[in-house]
Symmetry: none
Subunit: 547 residues, 2 copies
């Protein structure tokens, strides 16, 4: 049996940006677009060119993708031609091969929100789509409020859809804009639309999660015949979010009847990147990943109930509906030290640390990791800190240097021009090879602006590490993430620092403390120690001889 092709349309960069508190930078958008392309979605909607400076800048700088890059906009306004609508022109000027225009299909919205006549709106749709097609672009029509519109006035909603279809739209996308339509109703209406003559192969579905049914609504639409699904990574989006592609894609690839009936652009190999992609987005947004997320959450394959855990050890299929490795996730079974140790050896081998089976250090490493995770540490991304921790237990970590003490001061007061300015200053005292070294640094950058206490501390620490100076000088701090792991006054800070060297190596380290300066300092120390370890820097003789 040949499978039907199902197209995946991602709108993380547009509808996803409507999430409260989410504001992507151009750099964020680049990174997300590349992750989406690696996953294998068919369309990447990049934003609305002309609507704001970030979106415009992103379209200028957008990466080359295998996926069809799509600009979003709206149908032309009444009272002007498609050619003369400057908002539409800005969308076309982005030069993407596909353009998706949102337009009204609900009579109430046409009259109430737009304040134009029903025929004017139909004409706006037809003319706008025809204009895009005439420019040689692929046209998509987002039928806003389609389901509510269809329930209120089916003839008019269909007329709007037909206008887009007849004008040459490759896809007409049925949007449940308010998120209130339940799956059964979506299925029924999609069937009626297809029966009315719009082919399912040219229909898409766009749902929202306001009743927690966005995925189910998408599946109901596919069952009824649509062949394009819109969604976002991690279900970002306006209000309660859009259909979560991270949860939907594994269902389409792994679960019946979908796995047998359809094929998508996502390969089984790319599917293994699903967990990593979900975490990448959380990293960009500096969000704590949701443990209970379907397929990719840290708890998605965690078996806590005693009855479950003991059966899982006999046969994982007893309490798992899919294999966690298929989506790049892993099983958590409390007290399964066997599995823990072999995973650990595998992970260490990837870092070129060979440990024989049964080495008692393996158990100690697992214990330390567990205790530290309870304190707020996280070694998912901070691989360099993890390696240092493991090598310490294995007796393979040299004492490159010792920090005796440090002191940081942040002062804010009026300057000579009577403006409030701040200045940070750090003093660090280290001992290398028995020799004490005292360094002091300010946090001022070239523009005279204060970069804060962590910056001052990093500079003081890196200023005079004597025999290690060459290795340190080429290090650069490239990213700095702060997360509060417990709320309120008990707040504990986790700092993750990404560093880079002249050879392009990049490594992440972690520090945890209720004091953010301490947490940062710990991560900085790990970053330096890892670099010295990797460069196999020699410790000066006096140090080896002891104090």
């Amino acid at each position: 049996m040949t499978k039907d092709r199902l197209y995946l349309y991602d709108t993380t960069l547009r509808d996803g940006q409507q999430t409260q508190g989410v504001q992507f930078s151009t750099g964020d958008k680049m990174e997300i677009a590349e992750a989406l392309d690696a996953l294998g979605v068919d369309y990447i909607e990049g934003g609305w060119p002309g609507a704001n400076p970030t979106d415009s800048a992103f379209f200028e700088a957008r990466p080359e993708t295998r996926a069809t890059f799509t600009a979003f906009g709206m149908t032309k306004r009444a009272g002007m031609s498609a050619e003369n609508d400057d908002v539409l022109a800005a969308v076309l000027n982005a030069g993407t091969s596909a353009v998706c225009l949102v337009g009204k299909t609900h009579d109430f919205h046409v009259e109430r929100a737009l304040g134009i006549t029903l025929p004017e709106n139909v004409e706006n749709i037809a003319k706008s789509v025809a204009h895009i097609v005439a420019q040689g672009r692929e046209a998509l029509f987002d039928a806003e409020h389609f389901f509510d519109g269809y329930k209120a006035n089916p003839a008019y909603a269909l007329e709007c859809l037909r206008a887009a279809h007849d004008a040459g739209a490759r896809w007409s996308v049925l949007c449940d804009t308010n998120g209130g339509t339940l799956p059964v109703e979506i299925g029924r209406i999609v069937s009626e639309v297809i029966a009315a003559g719009i082919p399912g192969a040219q229909l898409g579905i766009h749902t929202h999660n306001d009743t927690d049914n966005a995925i189910a609504g998408s599946l109901a639409a596919i069952d009824a015949g649509v062949r394009q699904v819109q969604g976002t990574l991690n279900g970002l989006g306006e209000r309660c979010g859009n259909a979560n592609l991270i949860a939907l894609i594994p269902t389409l690839l792994l679960k019946e009847p979908y796995a047998s009936l359809y094929e998508t652009g996502v390969s089984m190999t790319a599917l293994k990147g699903m967990t990593r992609t979900a975490r990448l987005l959380d990293d960009i947004l500096n969000r704590v990943p949701q443990k209970q997320s379907p397929y990719v959450g840290a708890s998605a394959f965690a078996h806590k109930a005693g009855l479950h855990a003991s059966a899982i050890i006999k046969d994982p299929s007893t309490y798992e509906h899919v294999d966690p490795s298929a989506v790049g996730n892993s099983r958590i079974v409390p007290m399964s030290n066997q599995a823990g140790q072999s995973n650990l050896r595998e992970r260490l081998r990837e870092m070129d640390v060979q440990v024989e089976k049964g080495n008692p250090a393996l158990g100690r490493i697992l214990d330390v990791v567990k205790a530290r995770e309870t304190e707020g540490y996280s070694y998912d991304t901070a691989q360099a800190s993890f390696e240092l921790l493991a090598r310490r237990e294995l007796g393979q970590l040299p004492d490159f240097f010792e920090v005796k003490r440090y002191k940081v001061t942040v002062e804010r007061r009026k300057n000579k021009e009577n403006r409030m300015v701040s200045l940070s200053e750090a003093v660090v005292v280290v001992k290398i090879g028995g020799e004490k070294r005292l360094s002091v640094s300010e946090s001022m950058d070239e523009t005279g602006s204060d970069r804060g206490p962590v910056n001052a501390l990093a500079k003081a620490l890196a200023k005079d590490l004597g025999p290690y100076q060459a290795a340190i000088d080429e290090m650069r701090l490239v990213d700095f993430k702060v997360r509060i792991t417990q709320g309120g006054t008990e707040a504990v800070t986790r700092v993750i620092i990404d560093s880079e060297d002249a050879q392009g190596a990049r490594w992440s380290t972690v520090g945890v403390s209720p004091n953010i300066v301490d947490a940062s300092f710990e991560a900085l120390l790990d970053a330096i120690n890892w670099k010295l370890l990797r460069d196999r820097v020699q410790i000066p003789q006096r140090a080896l001889a002891g104090e």
Copy 2:
């Protein structure tokens, strides 16, 4: 038309406790049981008496409830009578009027996990249920892995169900234990079970969210005829969680066809407590509430897109599927670079700030917001900072006090016991009513551990605000979020602080700076200023007279 009665069965205290990281105390369980009872669920499953000390203690101390209090356990073990099984006896000894027993219905599990014969398992079910009924209790049977079992061996799965039914079970609950069954399949199998002779009025549904379809699966089962639904508050539960009653109940009461077809024990008045109940559970678990939660999340009725926000002002039904007040939630039209003057006036009106149309301050406010968002500020959540900004432009913000300067020191060194310890100290100088006040604080908490420079600064600032002291003393910092808005050495820090007062008011403020201490200080100042503004605190006369 008379409505069918739909029964709600809550398992937050049992299956909900299987969530990774969740461990309820007896006190927590009491509080949750009372909230569930106030909501109007029909059954409260309290735990497994005898399985652990907390559950046993809770059953002894359990509150009086209108809901049927239910003890959970498992069917008797093979090779002993129901009367002689001590595990079952412990469950019965809890003395609840209803008892729910889980038992196997999937042949694979009977043979593989239990290691007994298929007929032995059927007998265990029948005898256990009969034993409960003989004791005058209401018996419920949780048919574990029912859907997987039915797919593998429909005759055997039905035989198990029939054994429970014929022995007098009031309810047989079809459990999708592994969470892998999709809604359409659930609907089909439920229909077949009813066609096979088990009445829908005695069937329940128990789903998990492993494919993000727990709610849709529950609805599909109701559509097919079951009349009991199991779930948990906020979707707690093993792995990805159970069906979320907080999202399901509003759909059953507010959405068609459910609102017309069914009645539950939840009144429209109790429904208004839904948002509060969801937050109560998060408070108990010390979790940050999920903003995008259907119906009850802080973003569930937040309208960020410019097109949406302007239409909402004309008519909320344009972009809302239900009225937020029906579930005790409220609408948010956040500020963002897409919002215009009419959104702004609406937003201000909700803060009791009346501004006439065309007031030039509106344009200035939008400009300031835009400029600040470019710097990294975000006013989506930091509503209090937004109000201060607006009032400043409108000339409605009193100068409560002025910070002349501050200084914070973080020092890390060896203590007397030769251990590395850190200590932070802050000095703040403020001027109130022409009077200078100097305060100093350390960051040490009761346990002697250093909470860092921001803590020291907050304490010093709040230590002596003279005439404002009463208002400040009842303020509490409840959450602290840090986000780096640009990567690398150019890192700019955004700090968002949530504060609370004795009346339960909660407000969020924002600060931005390359220096994290500065950013935090700015957010702290806003938090205090907003509190003084809200309390209409009078400025001492000397201040009004100027310096």
